[in-house]
Amino acid sequence: MGRRVAIVGVGMTKFVRRAQETGQELAYHAAKMALDSCGLHLGQVDGVVLGSAPDSFDGVHMKGEYLSPGAGAWGKPYMRCFVGGATGVFSVINGWYYVASGLFDTCLVVCEEKMSSFQPHAQAAFLTIFDHTTERPLKPNLLWIFALEMNRYMSTYGLRKEDIALVAVKNKNNALDHPCAQIADKVTVEEILKSEVLAWPVQRLDVSPVSDGATAVVLANETVARRVTDKPVWIEGVGWALDTAYWTNRDLCYPRYVEEAARMAYKMAGVTDPRHQIHVAEPYDPFDYKELHHMEGLLLCGKGEAPQLTVDGVTRRDGELPVCPSGGLLGVGNPISAAGLMKVAELFWQLRGEAGKRQIARKAKRGIAQAWGDLMQVGAVVVVGI
């Protein structure tokens, strides 16, 4: 799998509803913080990867070019990648192969999103991702997909909304300890079940918010990594996979594309028994049921078993398999690509024992981050370890 690649530095801005900063300024803050955290300067960066979701969020067409000064790309090889919601984790995979291949010794990976620009609400940006002939005349909304999927998941396994809501309770509570969090809250199951219905069975508090923010990580080969830090966090495996773009034809109650991505990453990492060899997980949780969905796709439990693990407290910070100790998208916020990369940043802090109040109780040597996106059929997975 090429040369060993480590994450050696991370940085992130606060996630907020509307930032006064421009997208460039947000990207700069995260990128600068990531470099400062490992004592590298921009001149020591060989190449830059930018992850950012649809151009329409920031309201700048070809926003890769627009954001490049803030990402530190001046005079360097610069690549923008975009797979919708999966971008944050996929950007790390992108950066990984430039270093693993030997092309670069160091690579700065920056993810930025300024969703507040889109009017009247970022959700409307998604109207135009649907097929213009068979779907758009019906005025579909992204929530349609989630609601149809959640309903299918619930009825296949006979799940109760109360059990699924526990994910939102856990994550929003976890986020109380995250200094960058946007909607950390001591919310209760009852409050979630009473919140406004958006598209049954999806309710307001089942959903992550619209956010502005940026996250960055610094990747390095082994020589540089050993020089700049005593605690490199190695990228042990990467994987990504697509299901059909005809989203209606997918298996709605099981994310097969996540399983395929996970299997690819596990094989590379030498993980044969994920339930025991993965110690902390940051699956993508834009909706509470998605954390459960993705835990199953990542083979961290059997199909339909994730809700019970949540009920039993296994996925709490003091549980056997902490899931989204960061607070996830549900609690920290969801500036799409930056939120996905935030998950990788969280594993970096957790494995190094630097997560402060968020530090998980169990000893952890290996973690997994996953994100999901495009027309909801892309899975991107990164396994990291110390």
Binding site: Q20, T22, Y28, L35, G59, P69, F118, Q119, A125
Partner: protein, 157 residues
């Protein structure tokens, strides 16, 4: 109808108009806020200087894109400068002829390392040459709103 056959009239195939509606609410940013407030309130061009690279960015920025140093030192540059290039535009966005051609130029304000693009006025194309000096013509203070269009155009000094 096969792809390689050319559709001569819209009625030959089923087609319809659609749109990708995008409406945005922008912020000027931390640096932009200061630049446009200074332009609006004082009629001045403000920038930031990178001590490492010696570059003076106008409009000011909070960071140097070359070395990533945070930029905190603000200064005011001249409202006149040098014409770096120019063009005369005869067609609009939809390809139709403009009633009145517009002249567009690149101006490097004295004291700035970076270049602004804006309209040129009170000048005819036959008298233009690169290297000429131009100065900003601003809207009256009461009409300024903190936007790049507070500059009406640049005119020859």
């Amino acid at each position: 109808m096969a792809l390689k056959e050319r559709v001569e009239r819209l009625t030959q195939t089923k087609a319809w108009y659609g749109e990708l509606p995008v409406e945005s609410l922008y912020t000027a940013g931390i640096a932009g806020e200061r630049f446009f407030r200074t332009l609006k309130d004082n009629g001045e061009f403000s920038g930031t200087k990178c001590k490492c690279c010696g570059i003076v960015y106008v409009p000011g920025r909070i960071f140097c894109e070359r070395c990533f140093a945070p930029l905190e030192e603000w200064l005011t540059v001249a409202s006149y400068g040098t014409l770096e290039s120019w063009t005369v535009v005869y067609v609009g966005l939809d390809g139709s002829r403009l009633a009145e051609p517009i002249i567009v130029g690149l101006i490097r304000l004295d004291g700035a390392s970076t270049v602004l693009v804006h309209r040129l006025g009170e000048v005819t194309p036959d008298t233009l040459s690169i290297g000429m000096k131009f100065t900003a013509v601003l809207k009256p203070k009461t009409k300024r709103e903190g936007a790049i269009t507070d500059i009406l155009y640049f005119k020859p000094v």
